[in-house]
């Protein structure tokens, strides 16, 4: 089963991190990603630019409306994701708990519908 692991954290806290903390966090992410690639669980994963770079798009009555920023103001923002293949929710939870960002913010574990045949 495929799960999307959505990494949420407070952007301001991340932005305020000192260079050595950033370096060690980056190293941890590299290590973690390598681990799930080797285990055959990794499908995709990316880091997102901050919400200051986000644009929200809506189409109403055929008109495209764009607004600055994310859809909702929240304390924690989506900062990245992994798409993983896990046997079940317990395995997905175990992977999520190893994401370095889980110690700073939170990881939302979302199962993905299998493709329609």
């Amino acid at each position: 089963m495929h799960y999307l692991l959505l990494i949420y954290s407070n952007e301001k806290e991340i932005a305020a991190m000192n260079p050595s903390a950033i370096a060690s966090m980056t190293a941890e992410y590299t290590e973690f990603t390598k681990g799930i690639v080797q285990a055959g669980q990794f499908k995709a994963g990316d880091r997102l630019k901050p919400t200051s770079a986000a644009t929200t798009v809506r189409v109403r009555n055929g008109q495209v409306a764009t607004t600055d920023g994310p859809f909702a103001e929240t304390r924690e923002q989506l900062g990245g994701y992994y798409l993983v293949d896990a046997k079940n929710l317990d395995e997905a939870i175990a992977i999520a708990a190893r994401i370095p960002g889980a110690r700073l913010g939170s990881i939302e574990v979302r199962p993905i519908w299998p493709p329609q045949t």
Binding site: M1, N88, L89, D90, I93, P111
Partner: protein, 427 residues
């Protein structure tokens, strides 16, 4: 056999076997809904066939086989439907059916029920869902009975169950007993659910009834089942002991008029000696297992000291204070602090206990907990400070929701001399 007696006999078997049959059918068929449907069909088949054939020697195995056969029929029918109507080839169907047939001879009932319990108590489900699913799927209570126990409509409960089962399916919650080290973490959740069922029955949180004996009995049944499936587990032994020792006093906790009877005033002859004997043996067993001490076992040991005392004067309060201190180290909580203070009042007197409760109150976490104010009132009364005692009891009354508890508080206020409400002009 008389038809109604026969129906009753069937009913009892269905009730006893429901959880076990469902647990195995879920493993065989892969999901709750198909398993429930198959079980229902198996019960219908039993009602049709047992009167003529007699009740089989192993009704559980019979029902599982019948349920499995009905499910295979359905898989085949669906396959024919898909092939004919939708023109789709379903070569795997016969293989699916064959796989189901093969696995039915594995009669690992126990393992299946344990899997079911862990699935129903999975941390990805809400607390409400844990209790509802456990009572419905593991204990085999009807949706109506579960709804009644939680004072919600049958429709609300049915929706809650549907949502929970959808979450299990959609989120991929495994139908598995977790392996260590996850097991040690998850078993705590399972026991919390069982104890939650018990406390909901033992200290009903709203309304006029004080004890729901049926919920207490279900929780004890679950405790026994866990003890059977996980023999020698100190956490399980401790919890089962605790529930039995509390439940043993049930008959003495409420008067004929439905009033609360506090431990001190209980008629000890009404305590259930068989449950006490069983509970005491289990506490000893739980505490004799080396390793981490289970908080349930410590609570059970406290309950054991109460029930061991033939008269209330014989209660070993110094040891109870010591056990509460152990419990506070294992599992700090304001409620335990309050109970500790009450025990301290029996050893060192009300003044020291009042200090403890006031320090607890000053931290503000439990300022709306009626029993904190009731305990303060009692200590103040013992210290001959009636005006403050009355004030504390009135505050307790503001936060108490159960009618019998409110009546007890009003009686306390009356005993000091005063009206339970507002200013009292007799002062």
């Amino acid at each position: 056999m008389n038809a109604s007696i026969r129906d009753q006999a069937f009913e009892e078997i269905f009730r006893r076997e429901a959880g076990r049959v469902l647990a195995t059918l879920i493993r065989l068929l892969g999901d709750f809904d198909s398993a429930e449907e198959a079980r229902q069909e198996a019960f219908i088949a039993a009602v049709e066939q047992w009167p003529a054939q007699g009740i089989p020697a192993n009704p559980g195995a019979w029902l599982i086989k019948a349920g499995r056969n009905k499910a295979i029929d359905r898989i085949r029918r669906d396959a024919v439907f898909r092939t004919k109507v939708q023109g789709r080839e379903t070569a795997s169907v016969e293989a699916d059916a064959a796989a189901v047939v093969e696995e039915v001879d594995d009669t690992a009932f126990g393992d299946d029920r344990l899997r079911l319990i862990f699935t129903c108590c999975h941390p990805a489900l809400s607390g409400e869902a844990h209790i509802a699913l456990t009572l419905r799927e593991v204990c085999g209570l009807t949706t109506q009975a579960v709804a009644r126990a939680f004072l919600v409509s049958e429709e609300t409960m049915a929706q809650r169950l549907v949502r929970a089962k959808k979450k299990i399916r959609d989120a991929g919650i495994p139908y598995e007993t977790p392996e260590p080290p996850l097991f040690n973490q998850r078993i705590q959740g399972v026991l919390a659910v069982v104890y939650g069922v018990f406390t909901e029955g033992y200290a009903v949180t709203a309304g006029s009834r004080l004890v729901d004996a049926e919920l207490c009995a279900e929780a004890i049944r679950l405790g026994r089942l866990l003890d059977e499936l996980l023999p020698g587990n100190p956490l399980v032994l401790g919890l089962l002991a605790l529930m039995l020792l509390h439940d043993a006093r049930r008959g003495a906790r409420v008067s004929a008029a439905g009033d609360v009877v506090l431990l001190d005033d209980q008629d000890r002859a009404l305590w259930d000696r068989a449950k006490i004997a069983e509970g005491l043996a289990l506490v000893d067993q739980a505490l004799s297992i080396p390793g981490q001490i289970s908080p349930y076992a410590v609570q059970a040991a406290i309950a054991a000291l109460h029930v061991r005392a033939r008269r209330k004067e014989d209660t070993d309060w110094p040891q109870i204070v010591g056990l509460y201190e152990v419990l506070l180290r294992l599992q700090p909580s304001p409620v335990i602090e309050l109970n500790h203070a009450v025990a301290v009042s029996m050893v060192d007197g009300a003044a020291r206990a009042l200090d403890l409760v006031d320090s607890l109150r000053a931290r503000g976490q439990v300022s709306e907990y009626h029993l904190l104010h009731a305990a303060r009132g009692r200590f103040l009364q013992q210290l001959a400070r009636p005006t403050e005692a009355r004030e504390a009891y009135r505050t307790a009354l503001d936060f108490a929701t159960l009618e019998p508890e409110r009546r007890l508080l009003m009686a306390r206020i009356a005993s000091i001399g005063g009206s339970p409400f507002g200013e009292d002009f007799r002062d």
